[in-house]
């Protein structure tokens, strides 16, 4: 119930994207410069986003529930877009660069049907990227010495000019995502 409520809240806050009253402020402040490394060890910056629609999602591979759910729904949504799937890039940015090295990310995203650009970097680079997208993340230490990451679980839709356009939540179903994306792209 709490999850649904929070999801609905985020959904409502962003529903109209840059057109909404609250959205106009948010629109200009979401997205921005970053310098990261992709799963093949290649540098990937905000400039590489241009020219395509981008679905940007921050998460980490040790997350067993929300992150795979979100990436799978995104992957299914891409499939439903048919030919237009080539117009959309999926970008997964790790908030856990300590463990999510390029090889780890490579094997992780290869499991999904859709091609996914998986990015990480130094702690400082990830911090910069998260700040650009107004993403909160924090390490939460466990009693056994391990840790989990708390993180904003919002999927940002950025247009080919790099402008923030809409959001999805991790529980947005693939059908709804595909329908919305198709509408935004037309």
């Amino acid at each position: 119930m709490l999850i649904l409520a929070a999801g609905a809240l985020v959904g409502m806050a962003f529903r109209d994207g840059p057109k909404g009253a609250a959205g106009s402020l948010l629109a200009s402040s979401i997205g921005g410069p970053f310098h990261l490394t992709d799963q093949n060890g290649k540098v990937f910056t905000d400039a590489d986003l241009k020219g395509k629609w981008n679905l940007v999602f921050f998460g980490y591979t040790h997350c067993p529930d929300t992150c795979p759910t979100a990436l799978n729904e995104i992957s299914l949504a891409m499939d439903k877009l048919g030919k237009r799937r080539d117009l959309v890039r999926v970008v997964f940015i790790s908030v856990d660069p300590e463990r999510d090295t390029p090889p780890v990310l490579k094997s992780y995203v290869e499991s999904f049907d859709a091609p996914i650009v998986a990015l990480s970097g130094t702690a400082e680079e990830v911090k910069q990227a998260a700040a650009s997208y107004r993403v909160y993340y924090a390490k939460h230490n466990r009693a056994d010495g391990g840790y989990d990451m708390d993180h904003s679980a919002v999927i940002y839709v950025m247009d080919p000019q790099g402008r923030f356009t809409a959001t999805f939540t991790p529980d947005t179903q693939a059908d709804a995502m595909a329908t919305r994306l198709a509408k935004l792209m037309s």
Binding site: I3, C63, P64, T66, N72, Y108, H140, D150, A153
Partner: protein
């Protein structure tokens, strides 16, 4: 011992046995896990429990991972948080479901990725009814619910052998 006391002892035994029966067996349904992406060290398992007399799930373990814990996932203002749980209370006669987006059994340090079609054993530790072993069915990648095949899982002894390895 008088005839009456023998009769009373017998009655109490029957009542006792009946009570134990109705209050005992915890039903474990739809124990499933999701296939994990390559390189993922952690996975999650889900199931539905019903304790006729109420109980508390206090610990979990499985040979497929270094460690298994009860966790709760929550969304707080768009921020996803995951926290360990000391236990999960099972109200008498009420179904409690662990499912994606909520409480789950976190499998930490998987020995190998979980692949669809496999099954693996999971031991549930209950406060009152002790340990139970169930077989967890691995569903396809991204599944949000168990398939028909998961069905109702037998609990207790005589679990089917591990397959899929």
């Amino acid at each position: 011992m008088s005839r009456l006391s023998v009769f009373l002892v017998a009655v109490f035994c029957i009542i006792g046995a009946a009570a134990a029966q109705s209050g005992g067996a915890i039903e474990v349904k739809n124990a499933w896990a999701r296939a994990t992406p390559g390189g993922a060290e952690n996975g999650a398992a889900y199931l539905t429990l019903e304790a006729p007399a109420g109980d508390r799930l206090t610990a979990v373990s499985t040979p497929v991972a270094k460690k298994a814990e009860l966790h709760i996932m929550s969304m707080d203002g768009g921020i996803m948080k995951m926290r360990p749980l000391d236990g999960i209370d099972l109200a008498p006669g009420q179904e409690t479901s662990l499912k994606p987006g909520g409480a789950h059994i976190m499998l930490m340090g998987l020995n190998r990725p979980l692949q669809a079609g496999q099954t693996f054993p999971l031991t549930l530790q209950f406060e009152k009814s002790g340990a139970r072993e169930v077989q967890v069915h691995v569903e396809k990648f991204g599944a949000m619910a168990p398939s028909q095949a998961a069905g109702t899982m037998p609990v207790g002894g005589g679990a089917p052998p591990v397959s899929g390895h």
